[in-house]
């Protein structure tokens, strides 16, 4: 579904991605794990069109999307819930969700079905739908960020550190919901520092170090890998 070949991405003179290649197949949950600053978010930003690779290619459903503007990439079916949630603080929960239909919805067209799906996945959001987004708790904001990206009707969902700053209980729930979203037919590329949780949920995983992919395997095998255990799973 998504094939990235030899991506080189720079911030000024600093090379953040040094030839990264990976793929995501339809229906999968794939996780990218790695330390802070390894380049995980850079990969997602490049796929979403916020950053441009200097070299390399990104093929989505067989078509090159490297030159597409960000809104076109969303229109084609790749949505992202960015790191740090980034909900629109001055809009209500429901307005946040509505705004994310921008890629496909003409003015006046209904979006009730999408809204119901999101409220079904995250019942807490329905209760808070008239509340401004800044007033939500961290967990609720993360639900809103993911729910919002689902409003774009994605085929491929990019999740950047959804567990960041959440209590372990909430992380459990959230990951269960991510599994549910995947079972409803959305392919998922998950970036996480919480490697243990991510590998338990995902089908396959990649380990990223300093802008280079150092390991790629089935998630079940990565969990058992001694190097992964030592570096990311606390021994």
């Amino acid at each position: 579904m998504l094939q990235c070949e030899a991506l080189h991405v720079f911030y000024g003179h600093i090379e953040a991605l040094k030839g990264v290649s990976f793929e995501v197949r339809e229906g999968e949950i794939v996780t990218l794990i790695g330390a802070n600053g390894a380049g995980k978010s850079t990969i997602l930003k490049t796929v979403s069109g916020l950053l441009r690779a200097r070299r390399g290619s990104i093929a989505y459903l067989g078509e090159e999307i490297q030159r597409c503007p960000a809104d076109e990439i969303v229109r084609r079916g790749i949505a992202q819930a960015p790191e740090g949630r980034r909900v629109f603080p001055g809009l209500t929960v429901e307005e946040n969700l509505e705004v994310a239909t921008a890629s496909w919805r003409r003015r006046g067209e209904p979006y009730q079905a999408e809204l119901e799906k999101v409220y079904h996945l995250f019942p807490a959001l329905r209760e808070r739908r008239r509340q401004l987004a800044w007033s939500l708790s961290g967990g609720e904001q993360q639900m809103l960020a993911i729910g919002r990206s689902l409003m774009a009707r994605p085929k491929l969902l990019l999740l950047d550190e959804p567990s960041l700053g959440l209590a372990p209980m909430l992380v459990q729930q959230l990951f269960a919901t991510i599994g549910e979203i995947n079972r409803q037919g959305v392919t998922i590329l998950l970036v996480e520092q919480n490697a243990f949780m991510a590998l338990r949920l995902a089908h396959r995983g990649y380990v990223l170090e300093n802008g280079v992919i150092t390991l790629a395997d089935e998630a079940a095998r990565l969990v058992e890998d001694p190097k992964v255990k030592a570096a990311y799973l606390g021994g």
Binding site: S48, G49, L50, V74, P82, R86, V99, R107
Partner: protein, 290 residues
């Protein structure tokens, strides 16, 4: 007394409209458009060209002037903002100052409008209304009425329409807006066109009260900037109250103290506010952007 209140509110309405123009662009791109006042001047001069110079009907002059200012807003965004969109906000501010200077200096050329002052007619009656011992200009009431109508329209647009909410989202977090599939470039153009439209209206309804000259916009711009600071930069309530407050202050100051110091009151009150309450009536404390 009533007379002073009405004319103060009328001037204040103009300041509020221009302050709103500042606000739209400030919220969207984080920079102040110092050409906003000169855009008021441009709108008024377009009106003068069609109505006073060519003698066309006033409604047509209004219409064409607003139309031209919509085009101007688009060109302004493409030329003065778009190429600089990834630069620090200071660069954008300097670019808008340059546009203001260029507009003023083009307008004063002999082949353009020159240094004279021009008359511009009113859409309403120019016969003053007498209420008790107060004399009220219909144009003043017209200014207040149009301003209220514009404020209500703008509120409804931002709060009740899909496009309005997309604009809000873009202003609150541009990158997140991009990720949600919002065409951020288009939102920027719409923002600039809207603030140019506000400037056109401010110019057209102000023109019958003042004479139209190349410096009128600059003065109005400075006052509106003061009003923004007094009211609190970045908030709509601040722009409106700041504008009205300044308008009333000027008129009452001129009537009871001295009209020679009319412009000094504005600067004086700004200094007082900056010392006592730097965030203004409604604003949050301005923090340096990292």
């Amino acid at each position: 007394m009533l007379q002073l209140v009405i004319s103060g509110l009328a001037m204040g309405s103009i300041y509020a409209l221009v302050a709103l123009g500042f606000l739209l662009i400030y919220v969207a791109v984080g920079a102040i458009n110092f050409a906003q006042g000169d855009m008021v001047m441009l709108g008024a001069f377009f009106g003068v060209t069609f109505a006073t110079m060519l003698g066309w009907p006033l409604w047509l002059a209004y219409f064409l002037s607003m139309l031209l200012m919509l085009v101007f807003g688009y060109v302004f965004e493409r030329v003065a903002y778009y190429p600089l969109r990834d630069k620090p906000f200071l660069t954008v501010i300097i670019s808008t100052i340059a546009v203001g200077i260029i507009l003023r200096n083009l307008a004063i050329q002999d082949w353009a409008w020159g240094p004279e002052e021009f008359f511009f007619g009113t859409l309403v009656s120019d016969v003053p209304i007498e209420v008790g011992d107060a004399v009220i200009l219909p144009q003043h009431l017209f200014i207040i009425g149009i301003t209220v109508a514009l404020l209500v329209a703008q509120y409804l647009f931002f709060e009740k329409t899909f496009l309005g909410r997309k604009l809000q989202a873009t202003a609150q977090d541009q990158e997140a807006a991009r990720l949600m599939g919002i065409k951020v470039e288009r939102m920027m153009i719409i923002t600039f066109v809207m603030s140019s439209f506000l400037a056109a209206i401010a110019g057209l309804i102000l023109a019958p009260v003042l004479f139209v000259s190349t410096n009128m916009g600059f003065h109005v711009g400075v006052k509106a900037f003061v009003a923004s600071i007094v009211g609190g930069f970045g908030s709509m309530a601040g722009a409106i109250t700041g504008g009205l407050f300044l308008g009333l202050l000027e008129v009452f100051g001129a009537a009871y103290i001295s009209s020679a110091y009319k412009d000094a009151f504005a600067v004086l009150i700004m200094l007082v506010v900056l010392f006592v309450r730097p965030q203004g009536f409604f604003g949050e404390k301005i923090q340096e952007k990292v």
